[in-house]
Homo-oligomer: 239 residues x 2
DNA sequence: TCCTTCATTGTACGGCGCTCAATTTCCGTG
DNA sequence: CACGGAAATTGAGCGCCGTACAATGAAGGA
């Protein structure tokens, strides 16, 4: 256990990391053109020219692979929407919310299988391991959305009607993070953030799963109208 | 081909229908306690004491079975929400919308796998056969929702901001049905109906796929708040 | 240099959707 | 009633899948 080994992870570990990355890459490729259920350990191994059972040195089970895939994809989604949000100046709250929503849809259209992986039944027989899928990315998204609502709260507050929300309605971990980041925010604002999340998700989920296609061929118009309505319902002026 | 045979479908046909029904029943049972991907033709056959290949006399393929399952389940969902709506007097539009939304969520909570079947990736590798899944039930739902919006339109119209919706944005079949049922309704109202659909779907989909659970343990409160906000955004008074 | 550790292989098991030829069952007709 | 044919059913088989496990190979530290 020399110092050298600790500094550089060691040749062995590097190869291992590289192989792990290749497995994930191929898995994403398979998913992109065959759907999430086309991710088969045997197919990945075939593509890499290895034996089928070799994969099990890198992922204990297929579900484990799927889980890390979800995490990666979710993280890339959150990166993307946060970047879009930050392309708007912080004082343009309406613009930031609009950018967030639009980036979400554009990402989903560009990565339909990724969207299904995160927000749908990930894959045949897959069950999320205890703490739910991609807790970190999900919490990041939730917190960022709450930040947007916090910025809008001065305008939005008087438009909210009771609802009787308490801190105890929410998960303690989330409450801690939120109250830490936004000390003056009431629980109703967190409730609003979750509702906004749902509102951005609704039409998009319908579209991604093919329920909107048979009804309209201008889903973008619909989605934009919904975003504008949402922004206005927060007491902001879209432009 | 005697008259008797034409009147009664014939013993053979009756047995056939009965077996078909039994297959579907068992499939729903398997789905209820093992998820949609637990629906395996072999398992159904095993449960019925038949050979695995016998099922193929009744359903050409597994996807065909899933398709009729989706249709059945979707129909039962629409029946349910329409019944809930009709339990409110026609002049209480806010109440009818609220009842619709709540019935939707209650049905979903009682039939989580059914919800996933309709609104999610039905099942591993399943691809909807051309015209989308359950066209009839989906159109019924869409039309009924449009009816609710039509009733609210006198109040809602002035709260809608442009959006520039045209009849040509929507599927001709849907437009025909809608314009036939509600001759004076503008395209913006149809757009609103679809948006309302999305709004009712959003939070519920998040909840059903486990994205709300880690954040709140009062999803019902959240959903109700969203419904109230939605109703108010239509210019109606919830009570 | 040797020995341990880890990656990798091949084989195997059970389950899946689906196909197909062979068989049984049963109904309508001569 | 007996028979011919259609429909229902069977069983074997193909190629997938995830996973387990013992055996083999290589590579690195003592």
């Amino acid at each position: 256990m020399s110092r050298v080994e600790e500094r550089t992870p060691g040749r062995r570990a590097r190869l291992r990391a590289q192989t792990t990355a290749e497995i994930k890459t191929i898995a994403l490729k398979l998913m992109a053109d065959g759907g999430a259920d086309a991710i088969s350990l045997r197919a990945i191994a075939r593509e890499m020219g290895m034996s089928g059972s070799a994969i099990y040195s890198y992922f204990e089970t297929r579900d484990a692979l799927i889980t890390t895939l979800i995490d990666d994809v979710y993280t890339s989604l959150v990166d993307r929407v946060e970047a879009a949000r930050d392309a708007c100046p912080p004082d343009d709250v309406a613009g930031r919310i609009l950018a967030w929503g639009r980036a979400l849809r554009e990402w989903a259209l560009a990565n339909p299988e990724g969207f299904r992986l995160i927000y749908g039944d990930p894959v045949a027989g897959y069950r999320a391991p205890d703490a739910g899928p991609a807790p970190e990315a999900a919490e990041r998204a939730c917190l960022a959305l709450t930040g947007l609502i916090a910025a809008a709260w001065p305008h939005a507050e008087r438009l909210q009607s009771g609802g009787d929300h308490r801190w105890s309605d929410f998960a303690p971990a989330l409450v801690d993070t939120v109250r830490d980041a936004f000390p003056d925010l009431p629980p109703a604002a967190l409730a609003l953030a979750l509702r906004v999340w749902g509102r951005m998700h609704g039409l998009l989920a319908l579209e991604m799963y093919g329920h909107l296609g048979p009804q309209t061929h201008e889903p973008a118009k619909l989605y934009d109208a919904e975003l504008f309505d949402l922004i206005r319902s927060l007491g902001l002026e879209p432009h």
